[in-house]
């Protein structure tokens, strides 16, 4: 017995991937599995909120109460059916538009002789970097009408157009704004896939006598199918689960999607019902992912196939070229340039709906507190709250991206080194789980779990540490994927030969693995930084006055109808994200979104 023990001790000591795996299993059960179980447990027990609704309810006792209320009661329609249909409607409409748009653009840039390719490509992925709800803010500036409240937008003030309600709020603007963000995901994945397809495969097809359309259908399409599958899952799950845009453009007209419904319930402290809805969202996401895996699963290997890169002879656009270029420029102006100009302009307007030059002011940037304007909020550059939020956001982004990049690499290491074992699959699976958790519900759980001291962890209510923790955990799916992808690129003999030469593990990791994974490491960092900076629903419940972030600040200005501050702070957020992008790319030669692939 003690011999066996001795053996396993020696083995554990010499195999860091085993030690790491055990560490991850413990940490993940604590930070991912337990919260999930707590969420399920909550749905099956009476909460304090329920006590005045259900006669004789005892807090903590088992009950089907919440399921009954959500799925089979008078409230079902407003609690469940309508938000579900809205979410599905939004999700699928966004996905269809975004995928068509993204694929066409990818095709245009990878496969044709479009001029200024590099420039256009850089600009076209800007929506990927900025939060999806920024476009929604800009939308409001244009299309708001006075009927619903708030200020009126450019169209009604300036052009005296009576903007119909369906165009200023609800389904249509939500779909359009989200599609204009999510096309960038399909674009990135599809350009990646199209670039790696060896053009010789298609040439072989044409030599074999296939017509152009047949080549597309029989050769190209199957080869890009995995990328399309990933884009589909990514877009559908994210657009159904997103919070910011439906909150901005839906809540004023009581247009609820599941995430905003969850938010409303949590705000009312109705945890039981909200978590039932969260589970609905989780089930839908898992369904989408597993259908994708079923259909595409085996073919995945296509994407990783190494091609020679660029196609030798791009398709000639001929006469269509000027038309397409014009369209492209118009598109870029409409979705990037104009929104940013509008946001900027609006921050210089004293009265939000007066577009005359006499109305211009720099008060919202550099003005001292004035009780007559914006309830006395000082201008953004003099505003301590904004300064603090900026520092907090940057601190969050930097810390999370460093921790996540390291964690991702270590997860990748233990998954790849243990490849084929159950432990490896378990770690990979659990690290991916936070992807399907709706942000608000996840943070509600964390709030409950960590507001008192829990196990060895002290009470973290209202602390920056709690925000950092949840952002790190929520980003694990992506950082672990990019970590695994990076580790797979490193031939295992490179580390083995070092271990045979007696080089200890830490040194091997530092001198061999880390340098060889550098580009994956950096792109993982950039990704985490961007997502951490634009995180809203995940942190909105967790911020305290002194831990506010730029995003939550924007949201609270929004609820106070302080349009100029909303837009000004949004601009600051955009500038930081874009600067970070430029800086990180200076350091490493990586592509944006290298690791958004779900596959």
């Amino acid at each position: 017995m003690s011999k066996t023990l001795k053996f396993y001790r020696a083995k554990l000591k010499s195999k860091p991937e085993l030690t790491l795996s055990i560490f991850f299993i413990i940490v993940f059960s604590f930070l991912i599995v337990v919260p999930f179980l707590k969420m399920i447990h909550t749905t099956f027990t009476y909460q304090s909120y329920d006590l005045r609704l259900a006669r004789g309810a005892v807090q903590g006792a088992f009950t089907w109460f919440h399921y009954q209320r959500v799925f089979a009661s008078d409230l079902t329609k407003s609690f469940f059916i309508t938000p579900l249909l809205n979410s599905i409607g939004v999700g699928f409409s966004v996905t269809i538009i975004a995928m068509i748009l993204g694929s066409l653009l990818a095709w245009l840039f990878v496969r044709t002789d479009i001029p200024h390719r590099k420039f256009f490509q850089t600009v076209i992925v800007v929506p990927y970097m900025i939060p999806s709800w920024v476009i929604a803010l800009a939308w409001q500036l244009f299309f708001q009408n006075t009927r619903i409240g708030g200020q009126s937008g450019v169209l009604s003030t300036f052009f005296h157009i009576d903007v119909p309600d369906w165009l200023s709020y609800g389904f249509v603007p939500i779909v359009i704004c989200l599609a204009l963000h999510y096309y960038s995901y399909t674009f990135l994945l599809m350009s990646g896939a199209l670039q790696t397809i060896d053009s010789e495969l298609e040439e072989a097809g044409s030599i074999a006598g296939l017509k152009r359309r047949e080549i597309l259908r029989k050769i190209t399409f199957p080869l890009v199918l995995p990328a399309l599958g990933s884009s589909f899952v990514l877009t559908v799950t994210r657009s159904m689960g997103t919070f910011g845009t439906p909150a901005l453009l839906g809540l004023p007209v009581r247009f609820f999607t599941i995430p905003t419904q969850i938010y409303a319930m949590i705000n009312a402290r109705n945890m039981g019902d909200s978590f039932v809805l969260a589970l609905v969202l989780i089930v839908m996401a898992i369904t989408a992912i597993s259908i994708n895996n079923k259909i595409i699963g085996v073919r995945k290997s296509f994407v990783t196939m190494k091609g020679k890169g660029f196609r030798a002879k791009p398709m000639e656009l001929g006469k269509a070229k000027p038309v397409l270029v014009t369209l492209l420029i118009v598109f870029i102006i409409m979705i990037i340039v104009l929104p940013i100009i509008m946001l900027t302009w609006s921050t210089f307007m004293l009265l939000p709906d007066n577009y005359s030059f006499s109305n211009l002011t720099s008060h919202f940037w550099v003005g001292k507190s004035d009780a007559m304007i914006s309830s006395g909020e000082p201008g953004i550059f003099l505003n301590r709250g904004v300064l603090r939020a900026t520092l907090n956001s940057v601190k969050l982004g930097v810390l999370a991206s460093i921790v996540n990049a390291f964690l991702g690499l270590l997860i990748g290491y233990s998954v790849v080194k243990n490849r084929g074992t159950r432990i490896s699959k378990l770690i990979e699976g659990v690290a991916f789980a936070p992807y399907v958790f709706p942000g608000i519900a996840f943070s509600a759980i964390y709030l409950g779990m960590f507001s008192k001291s829990f196990g060895p962890i002290p009470a973290m209510y209202g602390t920056f540490a709690l925000i950092l923790l949840i952002v790190i955990v929520k980003n694990l799916p992506f950082s672990s994927r990019s970590g695994i992808a990076a580790m797979l690129q490193v031939d295992k003999s490179l580390e083995e030969t070092a271990s045979i030469q007696g080089i200890p593990w830490l040194k091997r990791f530092r001198l061999i693995i880390l340098p060889l994974c550098k580009s994956g490491f950096v792109s993982g960092m950039l990704l985490t930084f961007i997502t951490a900076m634009r995180e809203l629903s995940l942190v909105i419940l967790l911020v305290a006055p002194n831990t506010g972030l730029l995003t939550t600040m924007i949201f609270s200005y929004k609820t106070q109808e302080q349009t100029q501050h909303v837009n000004g702070v949004t601009l600051i957020l955009l500038v930081i994200i874009i600067l970070a992008n430029i800086i990180i790319k200076k350091f490493a030669n990586t592509k944006t979104g290298q690791s958004i692939n779900l596959g």
Binding site: K6, K11, K13, D491
Partner: protein
Amino acid sequence: MSKISLKNLTKKYGSVTAVNGINLDVIEGEFLTLLGPSGCGKTTTLRMIAGLEEPTSGELYSDKKVLFSKEKGVYVPPEMRNLGFMFQSYALWPHMNVTRNITLGLESKKIPSSEIKNRVNDVLNKVQLNGYEDRYPSELSGGQQQRVALARMVAAKSDIFLMDEPLSNLDAMLRIDMRSELKHLHNELGATTVYVTHDQVEALTLSDRIVVMNNGKIQQCDTPEAIYKKPQNLFIAKFVGSPPINLMKGIIVKEDNSLFFKNEAIKLELKGVTAPETENSEIIAAVRAEDIAVSPSSSEKQSEAFNVYSVLPAGSETIITLQRGDTELAVKLSGFSSTKMNDSISIKIRPEKISFFNPKTEELIL
């Protein structure tokens, strides 16, 4: 004295048994080759010796010290085994130059830097790569990379070298050069070497002893000469040697107090050999191509005339294939031959050059 001992070593991957209960003693200072077809478990065996793969069961010793034994509760990690390993892919660190590739491991061994400097010079001399110190692996040819890997292994001065098909990525000419360099190096350093290859010529030319493996088991462990001349079973006979050994089905008959091996094409008197007493039952006779002599006419009574099916001259030798009925024979003649296709030829085989195998068990019959 045995340097490395494998005792009943087994490795299973799920339901696949890659190595099946191997017992082997590697003698100090010898050059031992693991030879066998793809997938027979050579790499797995080597990696178990290095500690890169954990055996499912069995024990492993080096210098009488236990390296691995579940029963004894011992697991020595690769870092502590103090041996050299050369990968088929060379496993040079792409982000480090030649010098750094060599010195990184030495630093971990706490060797003083002056000594490290000397060793780098020394090994680069040995592999003739002076002047390449600052190059990165991607700036070297395949053969040069291979020599850097060799230098890196040699520099550590361990007394056991493990090599997994180190020459298989090189082109044919370079491979032959490197063979003699490896042999020279082994002679000079005297390190115990376990070498994996599926190339039987490489095994024959380099080894003190060859271990032929198949399906995760050792078929035979012997000197190259014994493996070549007295293969213990048909698998080995067929696997080693080029052209492949000639196999003839036939029976043993007794006529006038002499034994004969006989089939439709050939009748061979087995004079002076202790021929197997398996009269009138099927048997397989095996004979190497170079042990067959030919004469143009059918003057000898040993065989009927064979038809020449093909003539393949290769400079120093010519391989001709002969056919009669179902019997096909390859014959190796030295230099160029005047034999022409479709000639009629008869052959002569010295009986002591023949090995007999049992067709059912495929084992050698003494």
